[in-house]
């Protein structure tokens, strides 16, 4: 067996040296406040190393590295804020006047009008979201049906996904919102603009989200299916009780991602005449000669989507720690 073991390598010398992160500490001076602290630690590490205090020097060196990273984070934030302030002040505070005029941002009427519009966005989103969750799962499961006999129906589902992922959402909204009433299709010619919007967004996002589901279903190891089928569960029961519940949990982050996208894309339904937040903002801007209406609409979208995202993440972490024995 001796040839399997490498012949006497020279003893490594480098493991014993003290890391002072000098260059990184100097670079972090670009963010002066915390950079100084990093450099201070780094210098102390060198000094201690020279005095032969290797243990203390190493600890000091590691602290220097920590402070380099603090510097990067805090420094970037400071510069970002500075850039933003400069932007607001530029051209004699032109940006501030256009987007953030207090005359408009403090206008209660503007807010209440925009809120009314935003409620339409929220309703559209909630309905479309509910439909997408179900519809996309149906499409994904159909695409995963086994056997030769299911070939045609699988192909149909695949074609739908390909087609509706190819169209820009706004085109679908236009075509359905203007096209269906104009073509006078029975049953579909007499819906409200919001209902057309919901149909259009469901079709577009259903295609995306079905792919997310499908990826999740495929990620569940076949041994789970084997175990379920071996107990006598049918293919459908296996999907329903074993595969899909695990798959959905696994794809929650990309699902949330798509739903934030959907929530924001409700901004385009104004183009077919829905008086949503963005349409009202545009109207407000045009009549008052400002862009502050967009700022109000942006704040409304922001206030809903960010807490929702955080909440989802919190829920998922909680679920994971419950099931996976607290290994995370």
């Amino acid at each position: 067996m001796s040839e399997l073991v490498a012949p006497g390598l020279p003893a490594p010398q480098r493991v014993g040296r003290v890391l002072t992160y000098r260059k990184a500490a100097i670079a972090s001076l670009l963010f002066p406040f915390t950079g100084v602290l990093a450099l201070h630690r780094s210098l102390r590490a060198s000094k201690l190393a020279k005095q032969g205090e290797v243990e203390a020097a190493r600890i000091e060196g590691e602290k220097a590295r920590d402070w380099v990273w603090y510097s990067v984070g805090i420094g970037l934030l400071v510069y970002l804020i500075a850039f933003f302030v400069l932007l607001l002040l530029a051209n004699n505070a032109g940006v501030t006047r256009v987007f953030m005029s207090w005359k408009h941002l403090g206008n209660a009427k503007a807010w209440s009008s925009m809120l009314k519009g935003f409620w339409i966005n929220v309703q559209t989103f909630l309905w479309a979201e509910a439909f997408v969750l179900v519809w996309a799962l149906v499409v994904a499961v159909v695409r995963m049906l086994p056997g030769k006999a299911c070939g045609p129906i699988r192909g149909l589902a695949t074609a739908y996904v390909d087609v509706f992922r190819a169209f820009p959402a706004i085109l679908v909204v236009y075509m359905i919102g203007f096209g269906l009433p104009k073509a006078n299709v029975p049953l579909l010619n007499d819906l409200s603009e919001m209902q057309y919007s919901i149909i259009a967004l469901t079709l577009v996002y259903g295609a995306y989200v079905s792919e997310v589901y499908r990826a999740g279903i495929q990620s569940i190891h076949w041994s789970q299916t084997a175990a379920a089928r071996s107990l006598g569960l049918s293919n459908g029961q296996t999907m329903r009780f074993v595969v899909v519940p695990q798959a959905v949990r696994r794809v929650i982050p990309p699902l949330v991602n798509d739903f934030i996208g959907l929530q924001k894309d409700t901004a385009i339904i104004g183009f077919i005449g829905v008086q949503d937040a963005v349409a009202r903002a545009r109207f407000y801007n045009n009549s008052k000669g400002t862009l502050a209406g967009y700022t109000i609409a942006a704040i409304l979208f922001f206030v809903v989507s960010v807490p929702l995202t955080r909440w989802f993440e919190w829920m998922q972490n909680r679920q994971r720690s419950r099931v996976e024995g607290g290994r995370h």
Binding site: S223, A226, L231, G232, S234, V242, Q246
Partner: protein, 247 residues
């Protein structure tokens, strides 16, 4: 008539001819053990019996009914024939209790109270009643495999297939799983085991089959296979097992 009959069963994965004509009879209350090197086809035989793999040729009969080939209600077959896998394959998103009661409630239509009662009684017998509400990932490998056995038993199968159920376990956990299998054998459960635990095979088997390159090369009572093998290949295989310190 044998409970289970395999006749001339063949199976290939692509170019790889795994089973080259398996003939096997399993009588009721028998414990049949399949031994042989990795790749000899032990697992494939079990998976074919449970219709997790389609066979290419030959026929499999359960109680005289053909259960291989086209037009067979595989779900009905699997209610009669349970299988336990090497890697446990518990459902990680369900508690131990839910794992066990899923099939009885959804397939047999047992009420969930009744199913829970039966499951708890089974868990009690294997000493895991206190784990009923836990998720599988919090259990040791041995505990998970015992739950997997109980999950298969909850369907009250007439035949139980055990596919190398101790191969993924740490050595000190093997005994707790084998003890359950020994109890089942004592109670008359008909079983087919694929295993590398030769000592255990010798102890519980009614019949031992040595598989080599997709055929049953030698079969007989355990005293014959382990004590006085007739075939050269069987002797060579057991010699290697002895060299590895496993017999």
């Amino acid at each position: 008539m044998a409970l289970l009959e395999l006749r001339e069963v063949t199976k290939a994965f692509g170019d790889n001819q795994v089973l080259r004509g398996i003939d096997l009879d399993v009588e009721i209350h028998q414990v049949v053990t399949l031994i042989g090197a990795s790749g000899s086809g032990k697992s494939t035989v079990l998976r074919c019996i449970n219709a997790l793999e389609d066979i290419d040729g030959g026929v499999i009969r359960l109680d005289g009914d053909r259960v291989s080939g086209r037009g067979v209600d595989v779900d009905a077959l699997r209610r009669e024939v349970g299988i336990v896998f090497q890697s446990y394959n518990l459902f990680p998103h369900m508690t131990v209790l839910q794992n066990i009661t899923l099939a009885p409630t959804r397939i047999l239509g047992v009420s969930s109270d009744q199913a829970n009662g039966q499951a708890l009684a089974l868990l009690e017998r294997i000493g895991l009643a206190d784990k009923a509400r836990e998720y599988p990932d919090r259990l040791s490998g041995g505990q998970q495999q015992r739950v997997a056995i109980v999950r298969a038993l909850a369907m009250q199968p007439r035949l139980l297939l055990l596919d190398e159920i101790t191969s993924a376990l740490d050595p000190e956990l093997v005994a707790e799983v084998l003890n359950i299998v020994r109890d089942l054998a004592d109670q008359g459960m008909t079983m087919i085991l694929a295993t590398h635990e030769m000592g255990f095979a010798r102890e519980v088997s009614s019949k031992v089959c040595f598989l080599h390159q997709g055929v049953i090369h030698e079969e007989g009572p355990p005293e014959q296979i382990f004590g006085d093998p007739q075939q050269e290949r069987t002797r060579a295989f057991l010699q290697r097992i002895v060299e590895a310190g496993r017999l």
